[in-house]
Amino acid sequence: MSESPPEGDADERQAHTVRLELVDEPGELLNALRPIAENGGNLLSVFHERGSLTPRGRIPVEVDLECTPRQFETVVEALREAGVNVIQAGTERYGEEVTVLLAGALVGTDLSDTLSRIEECTSASVVDFSLTDEQGADGVSSARLRLAATEGSVNAALDCVRDVADEKELHVVEPLVEGEA
C-alpha cells in the first residue's frame, strides 16, 4: 500500500459496492457482513441472489456500503481475512450514487409516475426506495430514493429530480455533494 494519501478527502464517506461469493451454508452471510460493520462500514443494501450460482457453484451476494476510502480498504482486507471470497470491490460498477428525500403529496401526485419520470429523464436508476405513511389530512408523506447514476451524471440526475418535484409541488431534500476543490 502506498503511503501517499488517497485521492480526494480521506474522511469523506461514499458508497462502495462489493461482490462476494458465499458457500451455501448457514451463517455464511452473517459471517460476511460482520467484518463490514466491525470496520466502520454502514450497510446500505444486501442483494442475496439465492437462486443463481457463480461458475464455481457459489452464491453471489452484492453488498452496498458506505464508508471512507480508508475504511473501505480495511473492510476488504477484513473480508478476505475472514475467508470470504471478494470478487469485486470498488465504486466503479454503479458509478455514483446519491440519496434524496421527497416530501409532500407523494401518493396524490402519482408516485409511480414520479419515479418513472425520474428514471426516464436521466441515466439514473432508482436502486432503493422507502416511503412513509401519509400523515394527517393533508396527505403529506416522505420518500427516500437512492439513485445510481453513471459517472459524472449525478448533477443531471438531481436537476431532473428537482424539475419533476417542482412540477408536482413536492419538496426535495438534496444530498450535499462535497469536495468541489
Binding site: 416530501a103 409532500g104 422507502s130 412513509t132 427516500r144 431534500v173 438534496e174 469536495g179
Partner: protein, 316 residues
Amino acid sequence: MKLAVMGAGAVGRSVVELADEYGHDVTAFADSTGAAVDADGIDAEAALEHKERVGSVGEADAAAALGADYDCLVEATPTTLGDAHPGFEHVEAALERDRHVVLANKGPVAERYDDVMALADAGAGEVRFEATVGGAIPVIATIEGMDPSHVTAARGVLNGTANFVLSRMAAEGLGYEHVLAEAQDLGVAEADPTFDVDGTDAALKCAILANVLHGGGYSLDDVDVQGIRDVPSSALELAAEDGRTVRLIGEVTADGDVRVGPRLVTEHDTLAVTGTQNIVQLETTNAGRLNISGRGAGGPETASAVLADVGRLPER
C-alpha cells in the same frame, strides 16, 4: 481605540460592556431613539440603566453619536434588507469622515457590498465584518489569512435556530411546529422566526461569504434560498434509517453559485452539528479542507468577533 457603537441590542450592549477588557474606550453609544456621547468615554453602566428605565441609552440625539469623536464605528443595529437602511448610512457617515467601520449588522455587506467597498476605497477608513458570519467563529479572518484566492468554496451551518429545530426534530421524532414552539420557549428562536427558518439569515451570510470569496457583486437576490418549514419529521426518520440526517446548509461554490437549503448529510458528517452550534467548512487549494465550528450567535460571543476586528484595524 475610541469606539462609537450604533445599536443597543444584545451585540451592541456586549461590545460596550467588553470594550474596556480589550483596551478600547466607547465614546458614543446610540440606539434608534437616543445616544450617550462623551469624548472621555461614556459611563456604560449608566447608559444601560438609562435604556432599562427610559428605553434609550441616553438623552443626546441619536445622530449626535455619528458626529462624535471616535476612531471606529461599530454598526450593530438590526439587519435590514434591500437598501440596508439605516446601517448603510451609518457606515457611509463614518467612512466619509475617514473613520474605520466594524459591522455586526449583515445588511450593508450582504446587500450593498460593492457600495460599502467603494466608500472604503475612497477614504482612509477600513471596513471589517467578522461578526456578520458565524458569530464567534473567525470565518472571515481565516479566509483572509489563507487569502481568498486560495479558498475555492465554502459551506456550512450558519443558522443556529434552524439547526436546533432540525436536530431536535431528528433526535426526538417531533414535528416542526412542536420543536419551534419549544425553541421559542428556550429563547433559541425569536417570536417571529421567519428570518431563520426560511433561510434568509443563512442566505445573507452566504452572500457575504460569496462577496469575500469572489470579490463582490452578490446580494440576497443572488442566493437560491429554501427554508426548513417543508421538511416533515417523516423525512427525517427516513434519513435516519439510512444513517443520514438533514441540515440547513449554506453553500458558495467555486463556480460562484450560492444556495441555502435543507440537505442530506451522513449522521457523522462534520457538518452535522447539533443544537445551536454553527460550522463553516472551507475548501482550499493547498491546505485541503478546513472546518471551524463554534457559537454562531449570542451577545458576548458576537461582540468578541467585533472586538477582534477592532484589534485588527490599523491605528488612526
